[in-house]
Symmetry: C2
Subunit: 250 residues, 2 copies
Amino acid sequence: MKPKELTICGLAAVRAQFAADPGAIKRLYFDYATGRRIGVICRTLAQRKKIYRCVEPAELEKVGGTLHHGGIVAVVEAPEMREPAAADLTAWVKRCEPLLVLDRIGNAHNLGAIARTAAFFGLPRLILPRDPAAAQPSEAAYRVAEGGMTHLELARVDDLPAFLRSLVAAGYDVIGAATRGGLPQAQSHTGKPIALVLGNEEHGLSAEVAAACTRLVTIPGSGKVESLNVSVAGAVLIWELLVRAPRGTR
Amino acid sequence: MKPKELTICGLAAVRAQFAADPGAIKRLYFDYATGRRIGVICRTLAQRKKIYRCVEPAELEKVGGTLHHGGIVAVVEAPEMREPAAADLTAWVKRCEPLLVLDRIGNAHNLGAIARTAAFFGLPRLILPRDPAAAQPSEAAYRVAEGGMTHLELARVDDLPAFLRSLVAAGYDVIGAATRGGLPQAQSHTGKPIALVLGNEEHGLSAEVAAACTRLVTIPGSGKVESLNVSVAGAVLIWELLVRAPRGTR
């Protein structure tokens, strides 16, 4: 595969990509059964003189790089991941946009699961650190996200603690999910836009990231199992802090 | 494997089983690295004259029936899944116990993920239908639950709609997660104990199950992706309706 290309597998993810940006699809491969369900996509690719081809399962596995191709693989331009500028932060604050920041989520399935939830709730973007420990928007992440990755703007920051401090300066309430924090409560909403920061599956937030947050919250548990899965914890906090609180349903 | 036996894989799940009911462990197999971390478990099994053995990875895969054995496999008595009696329902209502009911969750990983969340929040039990479409408490479910399955009482009901009607009669507010329902809100708490019903990944609640519910709720989305993963939706609803509402944090 050429550099800056990404494979997107599975009908939901490919359809989402087509709906959001059909021009980004460079080549499309599918099995016979799936080919009968994507007439509109194929016609559009034909008009654009792009490659679309019904292939054997073995070739799908090869192109997609996975057994879990779900009968269809699109090769797309990898999304550009831009470092946000100061003007972006000002615009986000003005629009009161909720932010989701991932401090080294290491597992691509968790990244995809979080992206699915974030897109379901209509969050505009995901912010990822430029860190080798952070899972990248990969084939697995796109597949698990069921189209969610395509609906999110992806931003990448070099220095996450510095970025969080600039969010605070711009007017964000930056809330970190930690093992020892306050109760997450929509009623604690300050009126400021919220940036929610989720940490690594094993190690949680780094000390520097935690220190850069306005406050820390913890989902209270029974102690019977050690933790929630990070995508589940993220969903509960997105619901409580980013969806319900601004809506002011109570 | 003999009937009524179950393999539990992974250190978290095996440790949870040992903590909850060490007597249920009939045989234990582990690799060398894991063996150095389970001295207490091995000593207890030795006292009880149970088999515990350090084996090669290939044998672990064979005993566990999976590549994902995480270095340790316990063979345990399968948990008894009893049909709840009328007296049970009366006792649950008296203790105001929240219930989680799964209407044919089909994927064992989703069952395990839901069990992890339920146990994290201290729910007492899971209620499953006797239905071939419903995932069973299998090796995969135990492994994904990270010990959560062990902390839950598992009950099985023959006729789920009839069971839900008996819950309503006993005094439960039976809330079904549906595609068209009201907004889930802790503030709508009636003071009655709540039974939350989650439906199948593809088909949702059956019509009969939905009809037996007191009310239906829907997590509102942006429409950008079709749905939440069922374990994520379940977590949001458990948080909103079973954890926060009774606590009355607002």
